[in-house]
């Protein structure tokens, strides 16, 4: 049995791959197709409502069964994540520890020289 986190990821991947809204049954069929694992619709609905609570999908209540659409595209999410990582405010620095921070091209050139001049 896949963990809830992995399920959330595969459900989200599917929703991102589709332009139109999807229903829990679409998701169930897709996951059965892909991993040849049968999931109960209730499990799919649990995953979808968790994703909704986290603000990744929006539920459309106008139709029955309810349709789900992604709030923003995958690329937008990656971009905002990277923005958070690359921002070098001290606020961020305390939250995550980056391998190397931001430099200017001049500074980078000086660093390169240190390696070449060995």
């Amino acid at each position: 049995m896949a963990s809830l986190g992995e399920l959330e990821r595969s459900v989200m991947d599917y929703i991102w791959s589709r332009d139109a809204s999807v229903t829990a049954y679409d998701v169930q069929a897709e996951i059965a197709d892909k991993s040849s694992k049968a999931l109960a619709v209730t499990t799919v609905l649990t995953v979808l409502s968790r994703l909704e609570k986290k603000g990744f999908v929006r539920r459309e209540r106008s139709s029955r069964p309810h349709g789900y659409v992604a709030v923003s595209t995958r690329n937008d999410h990656v971009a905002s994540l990277m923005h958070e990582v690359l921002g070098s405010s001290s606020d961020r620095r305390a939250v995550l520890e980056r391998f190397v921070g931001q430099t200017t091209p001049d500074e980078a050139a000086a660093l390169r020289k240190m390696l070449d001049g060995r």
């Binding site: 995550l96 190397v100 931001q102 500074e107 660093l111």
Partner: protein
């Protein structure tokens, strides 16, 4: 308790200005980052203790000859409403200031921890959805972005290291191992706790120039410590090459998109220090120096505690 109060105040002033400046300039610090970190913690702890202690010991002078008897009398007066001690306004103001300062420091620490945890939690959720776990490196996630970044996200016991696809493409397998080792050192040595504590200290005393300096120094020392850990697993030159390549590539990325953040020069100073330490390693300070630093750190913590419990009568 007046003598104790004066001594504590002098200690607080020394720890607020000259001592941190000397430590920040100490040449031995990059050669013994763990020792320097120990001393920074001792300075922060002793500084807070002596600041509060000076206020408390002065404020309790009318209430009793020692801290304990004074505090007991003060509290019983406060709650019984029987005001037999005629304490001057200056003493009472000091008591208020001590309580306010202690509350302020604790409140800021809690606030900083909670907000960092919330941000990490949210970030972690995004990484889980957007990045795929690296099958070759457990605990590592690869995010599909061209900018070469690597960072670790300490969240409780389930910390994660995140790489971008750009980083994996940029570095050799050995250099990637160096990055993993560096980030893993941050996680196993719980550097996040240190960073949050010093950040809280800085936030609660923003007008204190030294609080910012201490935060910066601790950030740098933590990087050096993680480098030293990584050196056990990879060659010094490999780690240096990884640092330089990532720094160079990041500079290109930022050049074309956003204006340079203010901390740019501080970062490069750190990168330079890290690289030069790796390429031309200096020996650790001599044993006597190390012992001296340890003794100094212990003395810094013990002195204000001693003055608080056994005030000099006078």
């Amino acid at each position: 308790m007046l003598a104790a109060s004066i001594l504590l105040a002098l200690l607080a002033v020394a720890l607020a200005w000259p001592v941190p400046v000397i430590l920040a300039r100490a040449r031995w610090a990059p050669r013994a980052p763990a020792l320097a970190l120990f001393l920074w913690q001792a300075i922060a702890l002793a500084g807070g203790l002596s600041m509060l202690g000076a206020l408390v010991t002065f404020g309790l002078i009318p209430f009793g000859p020692t801290l304990l008897s004074g505090a007991g009398k003060f509290l019983s007066e406060l709650f019984s409403g029987d005001h037999s001690v005629n304490a001057g306004l200056a003493y009472l103001l000091c008591d208020c200031a001590a309580v306010l300062l202690a509350a302020h420091l604790i409140f800021n620490l809690v606030l900083t921890i909670v907000s960092a945890e919330q941000q990490r939690h949210r970030h972690r959720q995004l990484v889980y959805l957007l990045a795929s776990p690296d099958p070759e490196r457990p605990g590592t996630h690869v995010i599909d972005s061209a900018a070469p970044v690597a960072y670790c996200l300490p969240v409780g016991l389930r910390s994660m290291t995140v790489f971008s696809a750009g980083l994996v493409a940029l570095l050799t397998a050995d250099e990637l191992r160096a990055v993993v080792a560096h980030e893993r050192a941050h996680i196993t040595q719980r550097h996040d706790l240190l960073l949050v504590a010093f950040r809280a200290w800085h936030l609660s005393l923003p007008w204190f120039p030294i609080a910012y300096r201490a935060e910066r120094e601790v950030e740098i020392l933590v990087e050096l410590l993680a480098d030293d850990r990584a050196r056990h697993l990879v060659a010094d030159g490999t780690l240096a090459a990884a640092i330089i390549r990532v720094a160079a590539e990041n500079s290109v990325a930022i050049d074309s998109s956003a204006p340079l953040p203010r901390q740019g020069s501080a970062t490069v100073a750190t990168a330079e220090l890290r690289v030069s330490r790796l390429l031309s390693p200096l020996p650790a300070p001599s044993r006597p120096t190390q012992l001296l630093v340890i003794a100094l750190g212990i003395a810094l913590i013990v002195a204000p505690a001693y003055l608080l419990v056994f005030p000099i009568y006078g």
